[in-house]
Structure formats: C-alpha cells, structure tokens
C-alpha cells in the first residue's frame, strides 16, 4: 500500500502575509517568512513552535486551504498552487490532513461514517460494496478500531481519541503518501494521546511521510526523525531530532528546552540570552551534519 519513493513535498521560501481591514487596506501580519524544508514518505518531520509562530498556517498552506503570499510548495516536482480541479483532487489523493479539534472535524448533523462516504464518492467510485467494506475494515484495523464500535455513531458518542483515529484511517483509505497532522493530540487526554502517536510511528515505518505540527517539544522529540523549530514565522533551527535536542544551538531552542516541565528533573534557571533578539539579516547556516541554525 505505501512504499517509500523519491517523491518529495518541498517548501521553498514560503511566505504568508495576512491583511486585516477591508480591501486589504488595514495592517499586515507576517505570519510565515521564508520557510524552506522537505518532507519525504517514510519520515516524520515535527514542526514545533509556540502559538502565533505560524506552524498551523504552514500546515494549511501545504493542504491548499490557505494560499501562500510568496515562495513555492512543490509535490513530486509540480507546484501545488497551480493545481486545479482534477490536479488538486489527485493531490488530495496523495496528501491529506488531520486537524486539532476532533469534535470540530465532524459535521455534527451527520454520523461519523460520512467522512468515509465523502472520499469514496471522490476517490474510490469504482470500488464495489464488499471490497469497500473490506478496505475500510483494514484501514480501521490499522488505527486499532473495530468497525462495530465506531460506525453508525454520531461524533459526540465517541471519544476524542477514537475520532482522531477515524480521521487517520480515512486518510489511509486513500493510499496517501504524506499526512499533515496539525496539533492532532493537543485536545486529547494524556493516556489516549500516546496511542495515536504510536499509530503515526507505525505508519511511518510502513512508508508514510508525516508533518507533525505541535507546540509540545516532548511529543515532537518522542516521535520525529527531523525537527523544524519556528519562531514568529521564521525557522530558527532545523535538523535531525536527536542532534538538535542533544545540543540546541539557537537561544530560542535552548530557552524552550529549559522551560519544558519534566517529570524527573526540576526546572533550572531559564537560559539568560534573550531569545527574542532577531539577527540583522537572518540566514540559515549549517552548523553540523544537516543541522541548520539561523544566524
């Protein structure tokens, strides 16, 4: 079903400026500036940033829900922003998303099965009844759900964890290569959160590429192969997770790591250098094997 390939989702110098006020006359907000990184099937990239860092906007731009102001997002060599009708539909057949609030991701008026029905009409019209049920059962199994427990129910009758798993299985049904998981566990309780993360880990082992958007460094570290740290819409540090967390170089990363509450060690003094200071013309410099820092 999933096989790692040379396919790459590449973001190059992606920038997003929001205008407030009518006819764009009002103030402008630089949500994302000059973001460049890749996601390949078979790896998990965690995009870490505090609220307002632009991490969700990056996720929405990849999913073509918000148009970038500048820069390009290409998938398998083709620029995503130019895709229309058929092309966009094919893109969504290979790149899908799961959102933060499970209870807002389901139309309260319909049963949860509808999320499956919607994609069946668009992506698997020729699949016969029995084969469809079989594929759906297998997709549910991949996320540890029993069809009988979840199908035919309304969103409020299921737990947040079950709802998020359903959305993942919906994406699996479409044989996708890249999944954008935008803060998918922040609304879940700790005990069910870890199981959802383990599922993402298993899928990565079977060749799925995942962009794991989160504000929680511990979860980002637990799950991802590479990490991208955003501050005010700019990448401040990027590289293999083990390396970056072992010796963080950028002051902002170091400050974040010192503030995360641990269960084993007490908080030490917050690092003194001011994480807010932005260098004059910031550029990402290589400081180690595939380890970049904004200088």
């Amino acid at each position: 079903m999933l096989e790692g390939g040379s396919v790459t989702l590449r973001l190059e110098n992606v920038t997003k400026v929001f205008r407030t006020g009518t006819f764009g006359g009002g103030a402008t907000v630089n949500a994302v500036t000059g973001v460049t990184f890749d996601i390949r099937p078979g790896e998990i990239v965690s995009l870490i940033g505090e609220s307002g860092s632009g991490k969700t906007t990056v996720g929405r731009m990849i999913l073509r829900l918000t148009p970038p102001t500048a820069g390009s997002i290409t998938f398998d060599g083709r620029d995503v922003s130019t895709l229309g009708g058929r092309g966009l539909r094919d893109y969504y057949g290979r790149v899908q998303g799961v959102f933060q609030d499970p209870f807002s991701s389901y139309n309260p008026v319909f049963k949860v099965d509808r999320v499956f029905e919607m994609i069946r009409r668009a992506y698997l019209p020729t699949v016969t009844g029995s084969e469809w049920r079989e594929r759906r059962r297998r997709a549910l199994e991949d996320v540890g759900l029993e069809a009988a427990d979840v199908l035919g129910k309304y969103p409020h009758q299921l737990s947040g964890g079950q709802l998020q798993r359903l959305l993942i299985s919906r994406a699996l049904l479409m044989d996708i290569e890249i999944l954008v998981a935008d803060e998918i566990i922040s609304m879940l309780d700790a005990s069910t959160r870890i199981d959802v993360l383990n599922i993402l880990g298993d899928l990565r082992d079977r060749g799925l590429g995942v962009l794991f958007v989160t504000h929680d460094l511990a979860l980002g570290n637990y799950l991802s192969d590479r990490v991208v740290i955003l501050q005010h819409g700019r990448i401040v540090e990027m590289g293999p997770t083990a390396k970056v967390f072992a010796n963080p170089v950028h002051p902002y990363t170091r400050m974040l790591l010192s503030c995360v509450p641990q269960l084993t060690a007490k908080w030490d003094a917050t690092t003194n250098d001011d994480p807010r200071a932005v260098p004059t013309n910031p550029v990402l410099q290589l400081v180690g094997d595939d380890h970049y820092v904004e200088r």
């Binding site: 407030t20 006020g21 009518t22 009002g26």
Partner: protein
C-alpha cells in the same frame, strides 16, 4: 480610532452617492417616455398636458445626453436647488422642506432618545425580575409589533375624540402664529404629545426586548462569573453587564433609525402634523416628483447624519474602538 471613523465616513459618502444615483435614475428608469407616464397620471386635459410635457422635458433635461443630465443633477443638488414644487406652486422644494424639518425633528429626536433610554432600562430590569419579565415584556412584544399608523389612529380616536384630552391634529391652534410665546409653546406641546407618544411606545418595545436578551447573555460572560466568584454584589455585576450590553444596542440604534423615520412619516399623516410625512403625502397625491425626490434625499441625508452621530457616540462609549487596537 481615526481609521474607524474614516471608514465610516467613506461608507456614508458611498451610501449618499448610491442614494442620489437611485434618486436620479428612478424617473429615467420608467418604461417608455417618463413624461407621458407622469402626465397620464395627473389626468390633466390635453392642452395643459402639452405645455406640462414641455415643462417636464426641459426641467428633467431629458433632451440632453444622460451623463450631462447626471452632472446637472449634482450641480443643482450642490446649489441646493431641488427644483420647483407643483403642489405648492411658487415655492421651491427647498423652502417647503426647510419649513417641515423642525416639526419632524421635534418629534423624532425626543422619541428616539427617550425610547432608547427607557427601553434599555426596562429591558435590563426585566432580565432581573421575573415578574417584570412576564408583564413588561409581553407588552413590549405587542408594542413593537404594532404598526405606527394604527397606534396613532387609536390614540387619536380614544384620547382625542373620546376623552377629548388632546387636540386632534395639526401642530398648534390655527389662531396662533409660531412665536416664542408661552401660549404658543403650550399649544404646540399639547399637539405634539400624542404623535410623540406613538413613536415612543413602538420604538420602546423594540429596545426592551433587545436589551433583555443582551443582558442575559452578558450575565453569563466570563467577567461576570469572575466578579461573582470574588463575591462582588449583584449591583456591580449588573452595572458591568449593562455597560457591555449597551454597545450592541447602540449599533442597533443606528439600524433602527430608518424604521423610526418611516414610523414618523405615517404618524404625522394620521395627526396631520405639518412635518415631512404630511409633505410626502401631499407630494404623492399630486404626483409632485421634484418634491418627492427632494424629500427622499432629505430623509437619506438625515439618517446618514444620525448614523454618523451614533458612530461617534459609539467610539466615546466603547474604549476598544478608541484605542484602535483590535486585540493583540
């Protein structure tokens, strides 16, 4: 803050331009030759209609290209020359309107202000005491549902005819002339009261209902819960709830102006009150198109100015617009 007002001014200028354009276009939108249509309705005999036709064509300048007509229309407007009146031959539309405005304002301004204040107070109290909620509010529903002209008719019939408490119509005794004398003032007030009461009661109903619901929502707001958790007395919580609820009511006031003005027109007609309403009726009955179009512009301008005044009040009352920062 200035950006907030600048945007509002832009909106009102656009609205004014839009209204003026409608006003200019309507007679020209008429199917067929507008002049024939107009004259046909006046049912004048053939010779009169002949020179009337010339008169209209020339005054509407229909013989000139459209854009020229449009420019002339604006020039006339700026010069304040809205053309002659057919109904009251000899006086211009401007003079007639100038005479009628004070009477309508004398009705409208007190009615709007007092009904707004009273309505909000009663609505706030109704949100608090159940007994009021079950008595005052149903009355408010009935009042706000009542057509202005019908309430006017009932007041005239019951209060003026049957109880003979107030004069039936007009703004002052025929024997008097408008002057700053006590006698005229007393007569004016007694004629003024019933039309004012009509506008006041219907508008009052609307405010009471609106405020009652807004207060209930505000009493559920986070700041209200927080104050109550800190043991603040209900009086303070209600004061804050009222302060916050008044804001949407104020923007509601801007919206309701058009409705109350409409109400004033028909109320004046029932009471024969010499304001803009009576002028409109006369213009309608005599097909006095210049007067009608002039009155239309007057109403639009009046409502726009009133809306702008309410916006300024809103900025004064709501600090958020004053600071100009829409949230961090």
């Amino acid at each position: 803050m200035t950006r907030y007002l600048a945007r509002k001014i832009l909106l009102y200028l656009l609205t004014f331009w839009f209204a003026v354009t409608i006003d200019w276009m309507i007679p020209r939108l008429m199917p067929g030759d507008p002049i024939d249509g107009l004259i046909g309705r006046i049912q004048a005999d053939s010779t009169a209609s002949q020179n009337l036709h010339g008169y209209f064509t020339e005054s509407f300048e229909l013989d000139q290209p459209l854009w020229q007509q449009y420019l002339n229309f604006w020039q006339g407007l700026i010069r304040g020359d809205l053309g002659p009146s057919i109904t009251y031959v000899g006086s211009t539309v401007g003079e007639l309107m100038w005479a009628a405005i004070p009477y309508t304002l004398a009705l409208l301004v007190p009615a709007i202000v007092l009904s707004y204040v009273a309505g909000n107070r009663v609505g706030a109290m109704a949100a608090r005491r159940k007994v009021l909620d079950n008595t005052a509010l149903p009355v408010a529903y009935v009042l706000t549902a009542m057509p202005y002209m019908w309430l006017a008719i009932m007041l005239v019939y019951v209060v003026s005819f049957r109880w003979e408490l107030f004069p039936v119509s007009g703004a002052y005794d025929f024997s008097l002339q408008p002057a700053w004398t006590w006698e005229f003032a007393r007569s004016f007030l007694s004629h003024w009261f019933l039309p004012f009461l009509t506008l006041f009661l219907v508008a009052f109903g609307g405010w009471a209902i609106g405020m009652r619901n807004l207060i209930i929502y505000e009493l559920e707001a986070d700041y209200a819960n927080y104050l109550q958790s800190l043991g603040a007395p209900n009086k303070l919580v209600r004061k804050y709830a009222y302060g916050n609820a008044v804001l949407p009511q104020m923007s509601g006031l801007a919206l309701a102006l058009g409705a109350v003005v409409g109400g004033a027109l028909v109320t004046e007609i029932v009471f024969g009150y010499p304001g803009i309403g009576t002028l409109i009726l006369a213009a309608l009955q005599n097909r006095d198109y210049f007067l009608l179009q002039g009155l239309f512009l007057l109403i639009i301008t009046g409502v726009l100015i009133a809306n702008f005044i309410v916006d300024i009040l809103y900025v004064i009352v709501d600090p958020r617009t004053r600071t100009g920062i829409q949230g961090t």
